[in-house]
């Protein structure tokens, strides 16, 4: 439709619309002349005009809320993980509850986000990023944000945040109760608020909605503790939907009463905007009222844009000059005229910023000179602060010398492998196991010790204990724990050092000396001593990982300890060695539950790798023995969980994982495996939430990023997957697993060249099945079929039981023009997958694979029969839908194929896969194909 034609139609329509029907014909004849199309268009409009009736005569009703209250009842469960215990109050964004985190056995605050409008994918991503950002701020005066969750129930979803539960009242409530706060008491609060803002600003996080309602107070007087809540998360909770309307992009977020002038004007926010809001909060604290009071929020905001505030000293004459001046400077309309940092606010409040406190009562004509002086001294202070900062960066050891001998406030620790004085390799394994378990045990303290961060063992285990300066930079730590083990006759002696990571100077040291007979206590004693050196508290029960009475046979314990050292390498040879050692341990002490448990775990791992039922049986057998002796060992339940997962018994697996997690709540691996199991069972959100939890709890462990990235990959959220996996490769550049996974994502995104490069790196580090397989895939999609076949062959040699490799090999041969070899490969794939199906007869993925192989072999009937079974058990993830489409196409059902593929795309499946899949070359020539590709996006 052109505007001109539209105007023409309108003109004629308007001329006849109000005429009686009998008169219309004549007018139409006259106005349309011989333009038949024009006449037709107008007649159609007239007919609609006649039918319209009350159409659009009333504005749409505003969707009314449900009659029932939306409040959650105590006892109700969210996402199967949180149980509401108490309603705490409602805030701007929704209600706040106290809740139990059933998964981790903690109390949390749970904030339901009431969001009008749809939360689109882009917005949810933004929420996630914000939460991630907010998590960066760890400070005693900042409420910690844990996670973003979503609860689904029939007909109603809700989104919620979990955060640190703080028992106190808000500053707003306190002010309502007490009117105002004396400036002595207010200073105690103010300083903490400034610390909180400063910590956040240093981490690059703005609050954006700082106000009295977002400050929690615990206690009162000078002993008060103030905690700032909702850091950085306020902005997306405000009505800012992801539509393209211009208006929405400039809309300010925040609470109008506390918005800075620039925020009201829709300009970008900076730290200075938070400083402005801080000024308003300080004002309210000492005067009991906000400046710019007016009879409506709009009028109040308008005043803020146009008028200077009433000096607080007018309302509170006893207020000191420092306070009056500081508040007014925070409330400067020009962001550049406010304090440059929250730290400066503290200095100004205390009067330590300038040589003398400003004597002008408030900035006005007479104070210009003084303000300038003040600014100069602030600049001087800035330089001083910058120097201090540099000194701090040079190493806390310097500071320790000058001031008191203290450890840094934030303890970033790496435990390096201990050295062993001696040649016996079995003692080498003991030594390795000792450092490993120390590292893991310290990491378990992280959830309760916010100042502690432990570099993951996977990064430190290959570091040497000398030449340490560069280790500090590489690991991002400021403290190192090193140790040496000596075996002196019948005694074990461990010398542990806590060192400055940069200077390698020893800060503290401890010697643990135990007789061989008490060898079993070594691990616990070491943990106790090192925790003492680090000044961190060991929670009650922490030391029960290794009950001292576990075994009375010292030799048995040594075998066990060495076995752990090998087992945690998780590769074929080392696990084999570990099994041997655990067996020796139980030979020495047939009642050694922990050794049985680990034996079960090692076998479960072997079963997972080989799918050979022999190992499954041994895993179960040993788990049974362990349980009979002691049912509370995490390893036993982990082993049983893994067996359950690999045999398709999801319920049992989930149960066992949860049991293991309760026994050892901080074990990343258990958390991740449980998540994957949830995902298999179609409980996607639960899985996602757990995986994110693992990242949250241990943000420096690449394994967690690897899992979460793989999860997103599986759910076709490639951009997110790429981001996470890149993070994983940066954390563990020498580990092939994240490199291979990243290459998988790049392949799905159609970035074949990038993928090849990454894979080159991966294979250099270590040739693996995944590496070769992905490389073959990259070449395959660049039509280098012969190369690809070679790579798949290599992959198959490393993993002879994998049906998917045989299938890829078959595809490569088929396209390289070798149909006989292709058929061989497909037939092998059928056999391989049938073996797996014997273990998991209802696994939709396996069934679908089998159907696909049949289809490729031309056995259409078999293919269709098996596919029907697969569909019955499926949760229909995008991959499944896509493959269903492929099978339909291969078995000659084009219509169904098109429908499934369209659906797969709509679920987020990779378009490049669709456009490149060789099985679909004929389908892509179908005239309906463009429709499914360019169909409506939502």
């Amino acid at each position: 439709m052109t505007p001109e034609r539209w105007a023409q139609i309108k003109e004629v329509f308007v001329a006849v619309a109000d005429q009686p029907a009998s008169a219309r014909d004549v007018t139409l004849d006259r106005l349309c002349l011989d333009d038949d199309d024009l006449r037709l268009q107008v007649e159609q409009l007239l007919s609609q005009h006649g039918k319209a009736g009350q159409f659009m005569e009333a504005t749409p009703p505003l969707p009314a809320a449900r009659a029932t209250s939306e409040r959650l009842e105590p006892g109700s469960h969210l996402s199967g993980r949180y149980q509401i215990t108490k309603f705490l109050g409602s805030g701007g964004m929704g209600e706040v509850y106290a809740a139990d985190d059933l998964e981790l056995g903690e109390q949390v605050a749970l904030k339901v986000i009431r969001q009008e409008g749809r939360v689109g994918p882009a917005m949810l991503d933004r929420l996630r990023r914000e939460v991630q950002l907010a998590r960066r701020v760890t400070h005693p005066n900042v409420c910690r944000v844990y996670d973003l969750g979503r609860h689904t129930q029939p007909g109603h979803d809700l989104i919620f945040l979990t955060m640190e539960l703080i028992a106190g009242e808000t500053l707003a409530e306190r002010l309502r109760r007490e009117g105002k706060i004396s400036s002595t008491d207010a200073l105690a609060v103010a300083v903490q608020l400034c610390h909180a803002l400063d910590a956040a600003h240093h981490a690059g996080v703005l609050h954006r909605d700082f106000k009295c309602g977002n400050v929690m107070l615990i206690g009162s007087g000078e002993q008060v503790r103030a905690v700032v809540t909702d850091f950085g998360i306020a902005r997306w909770i405000q009505p800012q939907t992801d539509t393209q309307s211009n208006a929405s992009q400039t809309m300010p977020a925040g609470t109008p009463a506390y918005m800075s002038p620039e925020q009201l004007a829709g300009q970008p926010l900076t730290a200075a905007s938070d400083i402005y809001a801080l000024g308003l909060v300080l004002y309210e604290m000492v005067t009991g009222a906000r400046p710019f009071r007016a009879d409506s929020p709009l009028a109040e905001a308008f005043k803020r844009l146009n008028e200077p505030p009433e000096p607080p000293i007018k309302a509170t004459p006893e207020l000191s000059e420092n306070w009056n001046y500081t508040i007014l400077k925070c409330l400067e309309r020009e962001p550049g005229k406010r304090f440059a940092s929250a730290q400066e606010v503290i200095e100004s409040l205390r009067g330590t910023a300038a040589a003398s406190a400003p004597s002008a009562r408030w900035p006005g004509k007479t104070s210009i000179h003084r303000t300038a002086t003040h600014n100069r001294s602030i600049r001087r202070n800035w330089i001083a602060a910058a120097l201090l900062f540099v000194l701090a960066a040079l190493g806390f050891a310097v500071r320790d010398r000058i001031w008191s001998p203290r450890l840094p406030a934030q303890k970033h620790v790496a435990v390096l492998p201990f050295t062993f004085a001696g040649n016996d390799p079995s003692d080498g394994a003991t030594t390795y196991g000792l450092a490993q378990s120390l590292s893991a045990n310290l990491a378990r303290l992280q959830p309760t010790e916010s100042s502690l961060w432990v570099a993951p063992w996977s990064q430190t285990r290959s570091r040497k204990a000398d030449g340490v300066g560069n280790a500090a930079a590489a690991l991002g730590v400021n403290l190192l724990v090193t140790g040496s083990v000596e075996k002196n006759g019948e005694r074990f002696r461990v010398h542990a050092d806590l060192k400055d990571a940069l200077t390698f100077k020893s800060l503290r040291s401890q010697i643990v000396d135990v007789p061989q007979a008490e060898r079993v206590t070594l691990e616990d004693t070491l943990l106790e001593r090192v925790a003492g050196m680090l000044q961190v508290k060991l929670p009650a029960g922490m030391l029960h990982h290794l009950p001292v009475d576990e075994t009375v046979v010292p030799g048995a314990y040594e075998f066990y300890e060495q076995g752990r050292g090998y087992l945690l390498h998780f590769d074929g040879d080392n696990v084999e060695r570990a099994i041997g050692l655990f067996q020796k341990a139980v030979e020495q002490d047939p009642n050694f539950a922990l050794a049985y448990a680990n034996l079960a775990y090692a076998y479960a791992w072997k079963f997972h790798r080989t799918q050979d039922t022999k190992w499954r049986d041994l895993a179960k057998q040993n788990a049974g023995k362990a349980k009979a002796l002691n049912d509370d060992l995490a390893s036993t339940h982990l082993a049983l969980a893994m067996v359950g997962r690999d045999t398709g018994d999801i319920d049992a697996a989930v149960n066992e994982f949860q049991r293991a997690l309760r026994l050892d709540p901080a074990d990343d691996e258990t958390l991740n495996l449980l998540a994957l199991t949830y995902d298999d069972a179609g409980q996607t959100l639960q899985a996602e939430s757990l995986l994110k939890d693992a990242v949250k709890r241990n943000p420096a462990n690449w394994v967690n990023y690897n899992f979460l990235g793989s999860f997103y990959y599986r759910h076709a959220q490639y951009a997110q997957a790429e981001l996470l996996l890149r993070a994983a490769t940066q954390l563990a550049p020498d580990n092939p697993s994240p490199l291979n996974n990243l290459s998988g994502v790049l392949l799905a995104e159609g970035k074949y060249k990038d993928a090849e490069e990454i894979l080159g790196r991966a294979i250099t580090v270590k040739p693996t099945k995944a590496g070769y397989s992905n490389l073959g895939y990259a070449q395959f999609y660049q039509a280098r079929y012969k190369d690809a076949a070679q790579m798949f062959q290599k992959a198959a040699e490393l993993s002879p039981a994998d049906d998917r490799l045989s299938r890829n090999l078959g595809d490569a041969y088929a396209l390289a023009g070798e149909p006989a070899k292709a058929a061989d490969a497909y037939a092998r794939a059928v056999q391989q997958v049938q073996k797996l199906l014997a273990l998991r007869p209802r696994d939709p993925q396996l069934l679908q694979n089998l159907a696909l192989y049949y289809a490729k072999l031309g056995r259409k009937q078999n293919a269709q029969g098996i596919l029907a079974q697969a569909v019955r058990f499926s949760t229909r993830d995008p991959e499944f839908i896509f493959n269903t489409g492929v099978i339909y196409e291969l078995t000659g059902q084009r219509d169904r194929a098109l429908r499934e593929l369209h659906e797969a795309l709509r679920s987020g499946y990779s378009l490049s896969e669709l456009q490149n899949a060789p099985e679909l070359s004929q389908l892509r020539a179908d005239k309906r194909y463009p429709q499914i590709v360019s169909g409506p996006p939502d």
Partner: protein, 198 residues
């Protein structure tokens, strides 16, 4: 802001003066007003939709009216200002309504991997939500060749302005508003029956 106006503006209600400036074609006044109006509308909408007034169905126009009264003050009865205020609110209301309807719609369609749709606690009849979205989408088309007519529909339908108010807000004659709306209605009715028949 010119000097001679300053004094009077400070004395009267800021919204009133901003609206007056807006009527004189001052775009800056609009820039100042929009964020405030947006906040207030959303706040009110949320308030209603969250069920703080239970079982109450509210017409859009009533909501905008309440926002106006709250911001501009109850004593302010200048209907011309009101029209301009409503004119500004129309697009915002359209978005609020369409977003809700969409949410509803997305849920209805179902299908796997509804990863990120969130249904708010609103009860729309299916017919209403469908209609709101369909009209919104048809208007997007219409805007390509007749932006003025599109704006008229927005004011009349999404914001509930009557013919005179619409005319005032757009500075055109009431007769034009009436004709344009009549025409738009006929066309939209046709568009919607096409969609429904698909």
């Amino acid at each position: 802001m010119s000097d001679k106006n300053e004094e009077t503006q400070h004395r009267s209600n800021p919204v009133t003066s901003l609206l007056a400036e807006l009527r004189q074609g001052n775009k800056e006044a609009e820039a100042k007003l929009i964020p405030l109006v947006y906040q207030e509308l959303h706040r009110l909408a949320r308030h209603y939709m969250r069920g703080e007034r239970e079982g109450h169905t509210l017409q859009t126009s009533a909501l905008v009216n309440e926002a106006y009264l709250r911001l501009a003050g109850e004593h302010n009865v200048d209907w011309k200002n009101r029209a301009h205020f409503f004119g500004m609110s129309a697009q915002i209301m359209r978005r609020i309504l369409v977003d809700h309807a969409r949410t509803r719609d997305a849920k209805k369609r179902g299908g796997p991997m509804q990863k990120v749709s969130l249904e708010s606690a609103f009860v729309y009849s299916d017919n209403e939500s469908w209609q709101v979205v369909a009209i919104h989408e048809a208007l997007n088309k219409l805007a390509e060749w007749d932006a003025r007519q599109c704006r008229i529909v927005e004011l009349r339908f999404f914001c509930g302005l009557d013919v005179e108010e619409t005319a005032e807000a757009m500075a055109i004659s009431p007769t034009t508003v009436k004709r344009e709306f009549q025409h738009a209605k006929a066309w939209l009715h046709g568009e919607l029956s096409k969609t429904a028949g698909d």
